[in-house]
């Protein structure tokens, strides 16, 4: 200790601290060198991305005596430059809830019994083999999440497709950003944002579309606020259905009736066209116009509709005619937003001297017209040419740490293969067969089930077995009662891998304890295409293991060991990643090498010769754009590298308030808890800050109902009911005729009320809109 050291040692140490500071300041990518300058209090620090949202903040993790004892914001990570949110600062606690799952559990005669990992894995593998032998390859499935690491997702995809031989893989990201994916694909032919977080430091106008960024992406919102602080004339526009902390921080608030954002976006485009704010040259050279199938339904059980992907190329003239109806006055009538405010926002988008960033997340994606809504935001940026350049662009935010890195990039959805490939493309299948060294005939050519279909099949007995990793569908599926009843009736074989008991582990036949976050080595990919790696820093409790290790062990026991030649966990982490990386090279989604990731704070793909890309599709920034091309939306090769401006009309939602159920129900999240709360509710500070969910009611509605803040209110829909305390004039204030309920508490499930209607293109459910009535409880 310092008290006893000699002056010489003291000076040496001070010098080391100085050189560390200087080194650190000079290079943002000297990550693993930090171990050389460890302090001597016994705390060892190493970098990791945060475990929670898609922002991907850099965290320095302090470990002493084999435990995570502290975290600090990573000053060298360009995502957050040392700042975290309250969840990030409380990361250590998520590992140490007293009820961590430490041993595998098997349900026998209705009771959970502890067994060894070997016994549990043998049981799972033999049961899966038996189900396949009895009912065919399609009998089993795997369901994961955007919290799957890249390694976990790749192992699961390889096991189910190249091993079992079906495409029965989905992830909860289907419930979260599928509409963002289909939005990108239908407009640009390639998934994920063209811009990056650097845009937040450069824009003059920020438009939030149904997005409470202040609570859901707080560190990025701080970056926006810092921009405003620096340049006071920067304008923040909140377009939403409910007043939130984002509204408090914004300059302009447009409150629209739920679902009418489609009209507002078209009205903004109408103004841009009508006022001559179109960047004619950009549109002529880089865009095409399309009209899609419009009779697409809402994906409800027992309904059918036309193929939602059908489309035809039209023209600027046709688009102009389509827009004629969407005057600001018409939009005011439908949405309730004053025409003048819509004109004001259109003028901000249209001003050639203002750089504009649009941001959105669940409000736009969890929408029965989610794909269309994504398309409509792109329309505005394409018409004005404000895209793919510093400070200008549409930016789709994500809610999970690797929704992008794993679900979208590795491709853990039924149709997807790594590198943006698809199972229904023969060339892509041939490539997959070569990569995985399996006969091409063994790879099924058709996507099988999207998430809602997967759980409908589980609830109707068509799907016989499933392994669920790192997600909690018994909280997150819409219209939960229906699924629960069916699953109880048909008793499919359910395996759940998780760190804590959850509402989903309650229905499991086998529960496998999972190693989480820095208890294992792996990678995440964040919202701005940044892949980040971290090392194993502490041992997981008991027999807990990484999901990828569990998948590989089940695969081995089923006879697919050849697919996974790596032995140790460390070899698996590197081996799975490096094999996956080969799929990405040359596709425009080239991820960084494992060594580069180990020594950096992450790199944004495409990474060519070790160099990352900040703005895609623009010459000088994106190495895939050839000299002289200027702009190339090279995802749309068949359209001459042009992006699509879509005619997407307003259509009403499948269920709207009526006399019997007069209120809109919108569900969502709060700052303190992350998704279903299985981690954050176990952290003292976070639980104590937000101990229970509530139903937010507009003050006038509360008065009419005769309830005040804190009174019990029963919320009833056609599907279920739930009693909660009223929140009147709380942190968020819904519009008149709307209520809001957060979903973090598994004992108070708003998904008993919601409807399983979804966007027919993305198959993502709409958790933001259904009809309910309120009763004094």
């Amino acid at each position: 200790m310092a008290t006893r050291e000699s002056r010489r040692e003291f000076l040496k140490r001070t010098a080391a601290a100085w050189s560390a500071a200087v080194l650190g300041g000079l290079s943002a990518s000297c990550g693993s060198e930090v171990s050389a300058i460890l302090d001597d209090e016994g705390v060892v620090w190493d970098k990791a991305p945060c475990r929670f949202c898609g922002t991907g903040c850099g965290v320095m993790v302090g470990v002493r005596n084999g435990k995570v004892v502290a975290v600090a914001g990573d000053r060298q990570n360009p995502v957050n430059l040392g700042l975290l949110c309250v969840k990030g600062y409380h990361l250590p606690g998520i590992l140490y809830g007293k009820d961590r799952l430490r041993k595998p559990l098997v349900r026998r005669n209705g009771k959970l019994e502890e067994v060894s990992m070997d016994e549990a894995l043998d049981l799972v593998a033999s049961k899966f083999k038996q189900l396949v032998a009895e009912h065919g390859k399609e009998a089993i499935a795997v369901y994961g999440s955007g919290q799957w690491t890249i390694q976990d997702g790749y192992a699961a995809s390889k096991w189910i497709r190249a091993g079992v031989g079906n495409n029965n893989i989905e992830a909860n990201a289907r419930l979260c950003m599928a509409s963002a994916v289909t939005g990108f694909l239908t407009t640009f032919g390639k998934d994920e944002p063209m811009g990056c977080y650097d845009d937040l430091d450069l824009a003059d106008v920020f438009v939030f579309w149904g997005n409470n960024m202040a609570e859901m992406h707080p560190v990025l919102f701080s970056r926006v606020r810092a921009r405003k602080e620096k340049v006071p004339q920067v304008v923040l526009v909140d377009i939403a259905t409910r007043r939130t902390r984002t509204t408090e921080g914004s300059d302009l608030y447009l409150e629209f009736k739920p679902h009418t954002d489609l009209v507002i976006a078209n009205a903004i485009a109408h103004e841009i066209v009508a006022n001559g704010w179109v960047d004619e040259e950009f549109v002529r050279r880089h865009c095409v116009f399309k009209r899609g199938e419009e009779n697409i339904g809402y994906g409800l059980r027992g309904t059918s509709a036309a193929n939602p992907m059908r489309n035809e190329i039209t023209s600027f003239d046709a688009y102009r005619r389509f827009l004629e109806k969407y005057t600001p006055e018409y939009a005011e009538k439908v949405s309730g937003v004053p025409a003048g405010k819509i004109r004001q926002v259109a003028a901000l988008y249209g001003d050639p001297n203002k750089k504009v960033v649009s941001l959105w997340c669940m409000g736009t994606n969890q929408h029965t017209r989610g794909t269309w809504m994504n398309n409509l935001i792109y329309n505005i940026h394409l018409l004005t040419g404000k895209i793919s350049e510093p400070g200008n662009g549409p930016f789709s935010l994500t809610g999970q740490p690797s929704a992008c890195g794993t679900v979208r990039e590795v491709g853990t959805l039924t149709h997807a293969l790594p590198g943006g490939r698809r199972v229904d493309n023969p060339e892509h299948r041939a490539f997959a067969a070569k990569m995985w060294d399996v006969p091409v005939e063994s790879l099924p050519a058709k996507p099988s089930m999207h998430t809602i279909a997967m759980f409908r099949n589980l609830a109707t007995g068509k799907l016989k077995g499933i392994i669920i990793q790192v997600t909690n569908p018994m909280v997150t599926l819409p219209d939960l009662n229906w699924f629960k009843k069916g699953i109880a009736e048909h008793k499919p074989f359910i395996v759940v891998c998780d760190a804590y008991p959850t509402a989903t582990s309650e229905i499991a036949d086998v529960i496998l304890p999972a190693a989480m976050w820095v208890e294992r080595e792996a990678c995440f990919g964040n919202s701005e295409r940044r892949t980040q790696q971290w090392n194993k820093m502490v041992e997981p409790p008991g027999e807990a293991k990484p999901d990828s290790w569990i998948t590989i062990e089940i695969a081995r026991r089923m006879g697919y060991g050849k697919l996974f030649p790596w032995k140790t966990e460390e070899e698996q982490a590197r081996g799975l990643y490096e094999e996956y990386r080969k799929w990405t090279l040359g596709t425009g989604k080239d991820v960084a090498s494992y060594n580069d990731l180990k020594r950096s704070r992450g790199l944004r793909w495409p990474v060519i010769d070790g160099r990352e890309t900040r703005w895609r599709y623009r010459e000088g920034y994106d190495p895939y754009v050839k000299p002289g091309e200027g702009i190339s939306f090279y995802g749309n090769k068949k359209l001459g590298n042009r992006a699509v401006i879509w005619q997407r009309p307003y259509q009403p939602p499948p269920e709207s308030p009526d006399e019997e159920y007069p209120f809109w129900l919108t569900t969502g999240r709060v700052l303190e808890h992350w998704h279903t709360g299985t981690m954050t509710r176990r952290v003292k500070e976070l639980y104590q800050a937000m101990p229970e969910p509530f139903v937010e009611i507009h003050p006038e509605d509360a008065r009419e109902l005769g309830v005040s803040d804190g009174a019990l209110v029963k919320v009833v829909s056609r599907r279920g009911e739930l009693t909660l305390k009223a929140s009147v004039r709380g942190r968020g204030v819904p519009q008149k005729g709307q209520v809001f309920i957060p979903f973090f508490d598994e004992s108070k499930l708003p998904n008993l009320l919601t409807l399983d209607a979804h966007c027919p293109i993305s198959k993502q459910p709409d958790y933001k809109k259904c009809a309910v009535r309120l009763e004094k409880a």
């Binding site: 310092a2 008290t3 002056r7 140490r13 601290a17 560390a20 500071a21 300041g25 930090v34 300058i37 460890l38 302090d39 001597d40 209090e41 705390v43 620090w45 970098k47 320095m60 002493r64 005596n65 435990k67 995570v68 004892v69 502290a70 600090a72 914001g73 990573d74 000053r75 990570n77 700042l83 975290l84 949110c85 309250v86 600062y89 409380h90 250590p92 606690g93 140490y96 809830g97 007293k98 202040a214 707080p218 560190v219 919102f221 701080s222 606020r225 602080e229 902390r245 921080g249 700052l671 509710r681 176990r682 003292k684 500070e685 639980y687 104590q688 800050a689 937000m690 101990p691 942190r731």
Partner: protein
């Protein structure tokens, strides 16, 4: 001779200080215990020890900007780091004393006192300074608790004499 004289003076000074410093020491221990009660570990943002939404106190800067609430009875601690925009994205209320599930996290607490080379050399900084860059908040001036206040009063550059006790990576501090 000279040396002896210096030692004698020092001895008198130290003896004179001893009871005052014992008092200071105990109030320091109380202070640090109270401080810990508000945090998950050293370096975590403190929870808000008073009501916010329930009291309609929604603008933290009313009291927590330097000099905003600074009178003999009530001194609100100004923030020790730059303004990040929204205080409550890191600082949250404590609405209940209950927990959902017990948690066995073992928090990091830095030593309560910075080590000194000799009894008269400046103490090292015993804690991280991330988000505590403004030393004055806790160590200089009227709002600083007596137990932590620097005996020498204000000097412009704290860190030319006080250096970090821990060798932490630059990414942390």
């Amino acid at each position: 001779m000279m040396t002896l004289a210096v030692l004698a003076i020092l001895g008198v000074l130290l003896a004179g200080c001893s009871s005052a410093s014992a008092e200071k020491e105990s109030s320091r221990a109380e202070l640090l215990a109270a401080r810990r009660a508000l945090r998950a570990y050293d370096g975590a943002p403190p929870v808000i020890p008073h009501g916010v939404e329930s009291l309609g106190r929604t603008d933290c800067s009313n009291c927590h900007e330097p000099g905003a609430l600074d009178n003999a009875d009530r001194i609100a601690l100004p923030r020790s780091h730059p303004a990040w925009g929204d205080c409550r994205q890191c600082h949250v209320e404590r609405k209940t004393e209950k927990v959902f599930v017990e948690n066995e996290v073992s928090p990091l607490w830095w030593p309560v006192r910075g080590a000194r080379q000799t009894s008269i050399s400046p103490p090292l900084i015993p804690h991280h300074i991330q988000n505590r860059e403004n030393c004055a908040i806790c160590h200089i001036g009227a709002q600083a608790p007596a137990a932590l206040r620097a005996a020498h009063g204000y000097r412009p550059e704290c860190r030319q004499c006080h250096v970090a006790m821990q060798r932490t990576p630059a990414a942390v501090d």
